[in-house]
Amino acid sequence: MLELRDRKAFYTPGEIAALTRVDPKTVMSWIHGGKLNAVQLSARIYRVPLAAVIKLLAPDQIRRPALRRRTVRQLERPGEARARERRRVAARV
């Protein structure tokens, strides 16, 4: 597993720069270029999720669940289940 001291949910670009031993401007270029996923909290404040750090530095450690594909006879839309329940309640009253 990628060894990150003090692992946490989000990192600053400065922390990523220190981890990867590159200039903070390089980290910002990764973010703006789409190489590193980050969330912008304000004009100058960015945070990088732990998963994005792993994806950048140790992509082989990204965990991917298997796709579960199922075939069913009938599949309701979200509103249909509620409408069916309303009809059921109305029929009881």
């Binding site: 965990r63 298997a66 979200p78």
Partner: protein, 138 residues
């Protein structure tokens, strides 16, 4: 459905993808993806749930409904969701500071990757949901 693989490839940079479910009937399809933040054996801070419903048309699958949602943990500490169902685009918002919490708010059509995802991830990074600026549905 290629969309599932595409979404997982992108969303796995937000947290640990826990579930990818693709349920298909003769005419409809539902795609569900769940991710945990931060994941990777750290204590749970939030869960993302993305659900899309499709109907089969001659030209392929067409999106008819969606529910894009984040829930902060522990349960009840915050929730925001972009919903499209029953021909209504609306937002659910639970903000512990708001007396009108978890009401339906006026919404608009959102794109998962362009609109909902950055907004929901911003909530997790900030550690709080802010429902200010939303207008209750009439």
């Amino acid at each position: 459905m290629q969309r599932a693989a595409t979404l997982v490839e992108i969303l796995e940079a937000d947290g640990e993808v826990m579930l990818v479910d693709d349920i298909v009937s003769r005419s409809r399809r539902k795609l569900r993806i769940e991710a945990a933040s931060p994941g990777y054996d750290l204590p749970l801070e939030a869960t993302f749930e993305y659900e899309e419903w499709y109907v089969r048309l001659r030209r392929g699958w067409s999106l008819t409904d969606y529910q894009y949602e984040v829930r902060l943990h522990p349960a009840g500490s915050g929730r925001k969701a972009f919903h499209w169902h029953d021909d209504s685009h609306h937002v659910h918002c639970l903000d512990q500071r708001s007396p009108r919490s978890d009401d339906h708010y006026r919404g608009y059509e959102v794109d998962l990757l362009g609109d909902a995802r950055p907004d929901l991830l911003r909530i997790v990074a900030a550690g709080a949901v802010d429902c200010s600026g939303l207008h209750p549905l009439a």
